[in-house]
Amino acid sequence: MNAAAAMMLRSVPAAVGLALFLGLAGVAEILLRFGVLNRFVVPPPSDIAASFGRLFAEEHLLTRFLATSQECLYAMVLLAIIGVAAGTALQQMPLLRRACETWIASLASAPIVLMYPLFLVIFGRSNATIIVMGVIAGLPPVILKTVEGLSGTRKVLLDVGRSFSLTRRQMFLKIMLPAALPTIFVGLRLGLIFSLINIVGVEFLINFGGLGQLINDLAERYDLPGMYATIVFVILVSVLFFLATERLERWVGRA
């Protein structure tokens, strides 16, 4: 098979995905036009697509998008540092692990976003509140997956390390951490999803910052096409960070 044909073949899944998406949008459009769905609740996809130009020009959509992305980036860095460190501490101290693992897991399902008044008092109506709440919401999966990854290191790899008389530190840095990396990244991706939801949610609630605030504004003005168009950009942030973590994983794995 030649290179061009191979590339064509590789782009088939993406093309099918796009076609499916456009197909669903088309179905929604038809249902709305024939009045099966109420267009005061769901705006027609064509209106959503048409609103992008207006959003970029009048509502600074790009700036908002960058603001939310930046908050997400800070949250990711903090998540990785705090989450992996906490997970490591838990894994290294069995007592602490048995004491904390359950309630860290239950924290994942707690509606932390509702605690925003507390953080407003501490950090004010600022980026700090948004980022901190995002980090707290995303921490449980990072911590738990770090513990799981480190504990799941295959025994024979540890035995190899012991047979080469590795120190505790070498054992951790050269064997356990690289072995756990794929699992840790699963946790980081999961944590980032929670973070993004909370970041946009807090922006919405405290009417400050990026896309969440814009969604709030547009909703209050009853600009439904604009609101849905902005939600598309929230999804775009998520995609962006998913790709970024994949890149990061490959890069860290080699280093």
């Binding site: 295959r154 024979v156 790899l157 035995d159 047979s163 080469f164 690289p178």
Partner: protein
């Protein structure tokens, strides 16, 4: 006579590089204490290839872990060149039964690992690693990851990695158990060739009679529970050897002799296992 059975003490005993004396290990199980290894003693002379063979459940792997220093609570002493060993010893290089390459490192980086730990300068590290990679016949695969290699190739990477630490004694626990018979014979060739080139003292734990006879100077036949040395068989097949030796009449005689000793133990092991079912 191409082979002879004799007690443990013999000509090699005057200057053993590895010596095990009165090794015993007891495990506490739900059904009471289980003696896995009972009073096992042997010596390995420099450059000698010794195999420990026995049925499943004769404590072979326990012995491997004790000599490698991975098991600390046991009775008896292990000495390397006269020095008593507790815990992993730099003179002993281990090769494990299970797949043990680091999947996140390339072949070259896997083999560089022990040299990295010993702080060997980078250029020297790579040069040495390349040497051992070519010794196990994997030149050209330096940049590949283990996932891109076959099981036999991965086991050779693990072998090169252990050899790169230049151990005085190579300790192997059924390194070819997971491989098919043909690959096993060809890898046996590789081991013979490497052993010849490096004059590597080797202790092989195995349950495969043909493999033990093909590679060894001497075979310790272990009994089923408790694991004791039942007999010592010296293999006087000429060296250098290749896998072609498996077709010779002498090879067949050696295999038969070992099997004679082993059959009784294996039968007992099988009956015991069935009784417990």
């Amino acid at each position: 006579m191409t082979l002879a059975s004799q007690p443990v003490s013999n000509i090699w005993a005057d200057m053993p590089i590895l010596s095990a004396k009165g090794i015993s290990k007891k495990f506490e199980t739900a059904e009471g204490p289980l003696i896995a290894v009972n009073n096992v003693s042997f010596d390995v002379a420099p450059g000698q290839f010794l195999s420990v063979i026995g049925p499943s459940g004769c404590g072979k792997s326990t012995l491997f872990n004790i000599i490698g220093g991975l098991t600390e609570a046991y009775d008896g002493t292990v000495t390397v060149a006269g020095e008593t060993v507790r815990g992993p010893h730099p003179s002993i290089g281990m090769i494990f039964q299970e797949e043990s390459t680091f999947p996140w490192r390339t072949v070259l980086d896997n083999v560089c690992f022990p040299l990295e730990i010993s702080n060997t300068p980078k250029a020297q590290r790579v040069e040495k690693a390349r040497h051992f990679i070519s010794l196990v016949g994997l030149s050209g695969f330096e940049k590949r990851y283990p996932a891109e290699l076959s099981g036999g190739m991965r086991q050779r990477v693990a072998m090169a990695r252990t050899l790169a630490s230049e151990p005085k004694i190579l300790l192997m626990d059924e390194p070819f158990a997971a491989l098919d018979e043909q690959t096993r014979l060809l890898l046996g060739d590789k081991v013979l060739q490497i052993q010849q080139q490096l004059q590597q003292t080797t202790l092989l734990i195995t349950h495969n009679i043909a493999e033990a006879v093909q590679l060894s100077d001497r075979i310790l036949v272990m009994s089923y529970r408790p694991g004791k040395v039942k007999r010592v068989v010296d293999i006087k097949l000429p060296r250098p050897r290749t896998s072609e030796i498996v077709t010779s009449a002498e090879f067949g005689m050696c295999v038969a002799q070992v099997w004679n000793d082993l059959r009784e133990e294996a039968t007992r092991g099988m009956q015991e296992a069935e009784r417990l079912r």
